[in-house]
Symmetry: C2
Subunit: 236 residues, 2 copies
DNA sequence: CCTCGAGTTTCGGTACGCCTAAATCCTACG
DNA sequence: CGTAGGATTTAGGCGTACCGAAACTCGAGG
């Protein structure tokens, strides 16, 4: 009855998981449809199948939630994806804005053996090129304690620990502006009337100021290196 | 009208190509079916589709032959497969009997960009771990001049340049017997009444004799390093 | 020259994953 | 409290790739 999952099913489960990774409302059918680029009706059908296989909990007209089995599957897909991205960047010279689609294809084709040998070769990294944590083979994830840049008050200092990878265009822009993983940031002030945040990027002579529009501010996650460590574990 | 090929179509074309790689009779429907592990009726249907797409020539009840387009596609698939096998062995520590199935999956998932960056990283190898030649990106193949061990007369000396990879069990056996790529062989004699060939493997103090049954003799290809070079270009 | 059987094709049917259109549900506003 | 409109599900279909069974072809042997 285990019938190893089709690549569509892997995609559904991965999207459901990702939706709750950085915020914990469960996903609705139409959000799922939008993220997968399929019709709502296709999602209804597929969710029924996922439920039959015990991968999700779902009652008609309700949201979709992963079961323990579903989460296990999702985590193996996420592990694959992030290890593949790391491989593409470290070993094949891809830039971080190019890796997503390639990894998306590969993650359905690689075997468990492949994944583990790859992890070995890469030295068991714990995060991918965008700073996303790589789950362990047994499905354990170390969620880095960090907050979206947009949530920080002026005066905060820290390093960038995660950069959302869903817009390659933005990744290229950030790379040009020297904003990469582990770059130091200092929140200077927020311009009034919902204007952009002003931050200081880098330290020493390479430092420069940068206006961060909201769309970017919510995609950059910052770990405070100065103050109290565990301050960011809960979320509203 | 180009409609990039489905992975089934890639498989069909690759199998058709492989059939004629070391011998040049065209493949029949039922042979195709056997190699793909599908029913004859499925092949009929699929061959019609391949023909519609201009990848094969075929008339009812006749054999199946690749067109120039079909061969181009086949060669890109073969290139992918063999580069992937090389990668798995060289970079991920796979043994040569493990790589086939993994490469089979991956070859449908990798992009052209991936393949070329991989080739780059591997130093543009010209043969895979079994000695099969890797076509260039433009579809040129250097067919190594070599003969099946079984076709050689006693007295012949040479090195193994290709080992057929369709039986992983045999590959493991050969590896245990120290028979690998570039191993020196010397045909000693053939035991009478269709008995096995006797060969001397290796040179110097590591050398040993080995009885080669026919099934293995036809899977090992030898390049004569002593005598006239170009003697093996044509085939019966 | 005719026939018989292996090889091949055609014919209906299945599973999967997707679609549009129509029916249904639920909620929030009036 | 009732209903309109958005969200969701059902119904009916499509394309791909597979199957088994039935129909057909063709060439070798009688």
């Amino acid at each position: 009855m285990k019938s190893q999952p089709s690549s569509s099913i892997e995609d559904y489960v991965k999207v459901i998981y990702s939706f709750t990774e950085w915020q914990d409302k469960p996903i609705t059918s139409s959000q799922l449809a939008a993220r997968l680029g399929v019709a709502n009706s296709s999602v209804s059908e597929m969710v029924r199948k996922l439920k039959d296989q015990g991968l999700v909990d779902h009652r008609p007209y309700g949201a979709v939630r992963l079961t323990a089995d579903g989460e296990r599957l999702a985590l193996t897909m996420v592990r694959r994806h992030r290890l593949l991205e790391t491989f593409l960047v470290q070993e094949l010279g891809y830039s971080w804005d190019e890796v997503h689609d390639e990894a998306e294809q590969l993650e359905h084709a690689v075997s468990d053996t492949f994944v583990e040998r790859l992890a070995e070769k890469l030295g068991h990294p714990d995060r991918d090129p965008h700073g996303d944590p790589i789950p362990s083979p047994t499905g354990r994830v170390e969620r880095p304690s960090a907050l979206p840049l947009g949530d920080l008050d002026p005066g905060h200092e820290g390093r960038i620990t995660r950069i959302s990878d869903d817009d390659p265009e933005m990744l290229r822009y950030l790379a040009r502006e020297r904003i990469v993983l582990d770059t130091a940031v200092h929140v200077v002030r927020r311009k009034p009337f919902g204007g952009p945040l002003v931050v200081r990027i880098g330290a020493g002579n390479g430092a420069h100021e940068f206006d961060v529009p909201d769309s970017i501010a919510s995609s950059l996650w910052v770990h405070s290196d100065s103050s109290h460590e565990g301050c960011t574990l809960e979320r509203a």
